[in-house]
């Protein structure tokens, strides 16, 4: 047994590294807003030129993130996709994909803002105005809200009737000038331009007109029902629409 192993006399570098790491972490939280803006700008431009797509895996690397609350989501296409409109309406309806495509289409290009922070600039969405579908169904006087259901079997969303009648709310069939793929919620998703993206329910399969707003999936878990970008969920992002 060595009476004086080298470590007994040494300097406590370990403690300094440990406390230094903690201090850096705290400093990072304080300095995050400017750091994040800088990185987003840099990575956003780098992602545009990156053929490997690896920058998409970096935090704030730009692009969409795939979120699904269900274990697995069935695939639907032109042969088996159906959208039902029911509830407090005079003429309940069921649309096939081709029927939706035959209706007048609206295209708009706006930013997409997720409540977790990522933002995808200038994204084109194209589809049928939700207000057109509501007019076709004949909404009854006592109605006040809509409830959206999805063929993932789990996700739900809601809008007030006034919100749903806005011109920038679509039943979207195309994104970035391509038919909506499965991963982006295709073949049909909701697109609520002025709100955080969780309102834009993917894999839309049902629209039910109701009397009052019934909070959707994420709203039952703490997110705001009226999810205006920049004016809800305690965030101050630039409005998208």
């Amino acid at each position: 047994m060595n009476p004086e192993p080298p470590e007994e006399r040494g300097t406590p570098v370990g403690r300094r590294v440990f406390l230094g790491t903690l201090a850096l972490g705290a400093l990072g939280v304080v300095a995050a807003p400017p750091l994040q803006r800088g990185l987003e700008a840099f990575l956003g431009s780098a992602a545009g030129k990156d053929p490997t797509g690896l920058t998409g895996l970096l935090p704030n690397g730009g692009g969409f993130r795939y979120y699904s609350v269900a274990a697995s989501v069935p695939h639907r296409n032109a042969t088996n996709y159906r959208l039902t409109v029911d509830g407090l309406v005079d003429r309940p309806a069921t649309y096939t994909l081709d029927q939706l495509r035959a209706l007048p289409q609206t295209r708009m290009v706006k930013d997409v803002q997720c409540v977790t922070g990522w933002r995808v600039p200038d994204t084109a969405f194209e589809g049928v105005r939700l207000s057109d579908l509501l007019d076709a169904a004949g909404v009854r006087a006592e109605a006040g809200a809509l409830r959206f259901t999805c063929f993932d079997g789990t996700y739900t969303e809601s809008l007030t009737l006034d919100q749903a009648r806005r011109a920038d709310v679509l039943v979207a069939l195309r994104m970035q000038d391509k038919d909506l793929g499965h991963d982006h919620g295709g073949p049909v998703r909701l697109y609520v331009a002025p709100m955080y993206f969780y309102k834009s329910a993917k894999w839309l399969s049902g629209i039910t007109v109701t009397k009052d707003v019934k909070p959707g999936y994420w709203e039952d878990r703490g997110y705001d029902v009226d999810a205006w970008v920049g004016r809800s969920n305690g965030r101050d992002d630039e409005p998208t629409s």
Binding site: P6, V13, A32, G56, S72, R221
Partner: protein, 197 residues
């Protein structure tokens, strides 16, 4: 071949449970973060919950280990740096792999730096994670900042952790020591020449 005791049962269990919890954190993080894996797994709410629980439990093995005298002694060894550690780090920077230019006692300087850093990083992850979890505790602006730190530090930890595991894979006797508690005398004299167990 003489075996030299290196880790007691308590020390090994601290490492084992910490590694398991860290592994769960990394795996669930990947399921939440990498789009291809997120598509594969879905069930976002459940994965988030598992991630949160594993993260909160992560410091507990080390805290429990404080009851062990041997573990406390290890923390002392990890904390204290001597002149030989400086030599070890310089050799590492020069990529000098000869054992004689890498003097080390029970833990080498790389292991000491790693231990201190990963301990600090884990607590930063815990702090920022709690800020994201219990959003009412802090202003919303802080949650965005905490997410930023949590994301980037997660990436850094992933890289460093891969290095840690890679080095363990390259040294079977070191793994044997952590698994069974004892190492060969030859290995101890070569890799930890200043260690006097």
């Amino acid at each position: 071949m003489t075996r030299i005791p290196r880790f007691t049962r308590a020390e090994r269990w601290v490492h084992r449970t910490t590694a398991l919890l860290m592994g769960v954190c990394v795996l669930t993080a990947a399921f939440l973060y990498v789009p291809e894996l997120a598509e594969l797994v879905g069930r976002r709410e459940l994965v988030v919950r598992v991630h949160e629980i594993a993260g909160v439990l992560l410091p507990l093995p080390v805290l429990g280990g404080l009851a062990s005298r041997a573990f406390r002694a290890d923390l002392g060894h990890l904390n204290r740096f001597g002149p030989h550690d400086r030599r070890w780090l310089r050799a590492a920077l020069r990529r000098d792999r000869r054992p004689e230019s890498r003097p080390a006692a029970k833990f080498n300087a790389g292991q000491k730096v790693y231990a201190a850093w990963i301990a600090g990083a884990t607590l930063v992850m815990l702090g920022t994670g709690l800020m994201m979890w219990f959003t009412h505790l802090t202003p919303i602006m802080w949650r965005t900042s905490a997410t930023f730190v949590h994301d980037w530090l997660a990436l850094t930890i992933g890289v460093v952790l891969a290095g840690h595991i890679g080095m363990a894979l390259a040294d079977p006797e070191a793994r044997h020591g952590m698994r069974t508690g004892s190492v060969s005398r030859e290995w101890a004299e070569r890799e930890h020449s200043l260690w006097r167990p």
